[in-house]
């Protein structure tokens, strides 16, 4: 054993490192995220704002101050895009993560405990899967949060719209991961090391946590990544329909809504946010595909 100990994770990293579309996808995402984070500094530096309206400088063309021009309320388009991106990307990340957590718990319980637990959980999964997505999203988005016991202040703040979308997408989006994890758990539970772990007196909880889930995590990571792209699109759709992020907060989806009426006069206002959604989703999918092949034990070991 002359070579240093190489874990499966190191092998996966070696495979991923040679997959240039995946790396490019990851690079684009990181760059986009950092640019979005930098929005306040950019505003200070250029002396513009993506939030404050300025009715004297509506529909400015692109120039040295407004790099991408200004929108119908005189806000700087570039800074507004970046601020919208903060919201869109973080919703995508949070909701994909939330879906995966819920799906993992449900799938692992169904796959490990089997029998009635499995039946109940999987029929519930089928039920959620059978719900028509968009109409349910719209209905859920119309729920009056104050009736659920949230304070007026919270409901009026921009946070409410953000967390509402995260929660809604999580509630409807966990089914894929639940099925993936259930299938992986069923297969792993038959493996001898799980029997061996039980023979060593490990509790059901420990068997699941230490022995089953770490071995089932690869498809979950891939599904989470790919799901992020889907969430970005859902968020755009919801905001476009006016039930997502509410002004003055913004996201790429809600910028598209605003641009809708102006498509004839200022088409660029629709093209910019649309293009950013497109680029992010493509980048996410490239990265997800790269992860998938890096995690596949059949692909060439580094």
């Amino acid at each position: 054993m002359s070579e240093a100990a190489v874990s499966v994770w190191q092998l996966r990293w070696r495979r991923l490192r040679r997959d240039w579309p995946a790396l490019a996808g990851a690079g684009v995402l990181v760059a986009l995220y950092l640019a979005c984070r930098a929005a306040p500094w950019l505003e200070d530096w250029l002396g513009v704002s993506g939030v404050e309206t300025d009715l004297l400088s509506r529909f400015e063309p692109a120039d040295g101050q407004h790099w991408l021009g200004s929108d119908e309320a005189g806000r700087d388009e570039l800074c507004r895009l970046l601020r919208g991106g903060q919201v869109s990307l973080s919703i995508g990340f949070m909701a994909a993560l939330g879906s995966s957590l819920v799906g993992t718990v449900i799938g692992a319980c169904a796959g490990y405990f089997r029998g009635k637990v499995d039946m109940v959980l999987m029929r519930f999964t089928d039920f959620v899967l059978a719900l028509p997505g968009l109409p349910v999203l719209i209905i859920l988005a119309a729920i009056d949060l104050t009736k659920l016991g949230f304070s007026q202040d919270f409901v009026r703040s921009g946070d409410a719209g953000y967390w509402r979308i995260v929660a809604i997408v999580t509630l409807l989006g966990w089914t894929t991961v639940a099925r993936l994890v259930r299938a992986a758990t069923l297969a792993l539970a038959e493996r001898e090391f799980v029997l061996a772990a039980r023979a060593q007196g490990a509790s059901a909880w420990r068997v699941l946590w230490v022995h089953v889930l770490p071995n089932a995590i690869s498809p979950v990571i891939v599904a989470t990544t790919l799901r992020m792209g889907g969430v970005l699109l859902t968020e755009s759709a919801l905001s476009f329909l006016g039930v997502g992020i509410q002004p003055p907060a913004t996201s790429w989806g809600s910028m598209l809504t605003n641009a809708q009426e102006l498509i004839a006069t200022a088409p660029l206002l629709a093209i910019y946010p649309g293009a950013l959604v497109l680029v992010s989703v493509i980048a996410i999918n490239f990265f997800g595909d790269g992860l998938q092949s890096a995690f596949d034990p059949r692909s060439d070991p580094g």
């Binding site: 054993m1 090391f193 029997l195 007196g201 022995h211």
Partner: protein
Amino acid sequence: MTAPLLHAADLKVTLGPPGAGVAVIAGLDFSLEAGRTLGVVGESGCGKSMTALAIMGLLPRPHAVGGALRFNGTDVLTLPAEGHRRLRGAQMAMIFQEPMTALNPVVTVGRQIAEMLEVHRATPPDQAARQAVALLERVGIADAGRRATAFPHQLSGGMRQRVMIAMAIACKPALLIADEPTTALDVSVQAQILDLLLELQRDEGMAMVFISHNLGVVSEMADDILVMYSGRAVEYGPAQAVLRAPRHPYTAGLIATLPDIGRRQAVLPVIPGNVVNPRRRPAGCAFAGRCAQAGADCAAAVPMLTPVAAGHAAACLRVRPAA
């Protein structure tokens, strides 16, 4: 006389849903004193591994059990699941046939051993890690400190089995069940593992249930031998007596199939036929269909295990009971 560590009385195991179950163990009696080794021998499908899983409380669900199986005086068949779990790993441990698949591929072997101590002894993690390295040394792994950080796929089959053994003995169990522990290993490694098991048993005073289809291996390990056929014991007695003077035709057949290095044989003897399907077990002796000495009377009733000498019993109508 002290009570044996492990005692089975008319142990029965039926796998499958009620009404449609298969009796994989159809009444089994044996006992094992602390510090001794019981060898369980038989062909595939005779119920050896199910006996082990019944002791460990890991029978596949759904199942039904009957009779009694006492470990340290407690009937483990009626023990609640949580109580049985506490025994596993701490009081009774098991090593498996396939060291390739019996270790978690994504956890380092040192962690897997340390986990045993953390679960059963509540040992703090840093101390458990040190003890894991000591255990790896104990089972004869050189450079244990570095090997503890290795993942299972980086170790050879023999080393992996040593790791399994280290995990099994981590909490100094009173009983070690070894289910075909050397079958998947090559012959020279086999001998090393058997020596290691004997040495550990001598030092720790563990009792051992040693399961194998290989009588040659069992003869080196066991004090007593239990020969199983189709879910029942067909012969049970001290290892020397069973090997030198087998009474049951099945045992005699198994011994005859062992290759003899002193004789050149063109064709090794075999026992014709296969083990009967437990779903279609005949009313009489299950071995009758393959037995050269079988007669019409063999199909009438299941022969009882009858004493043939001191501590030695066989279940065959053709053996003369001891006077």
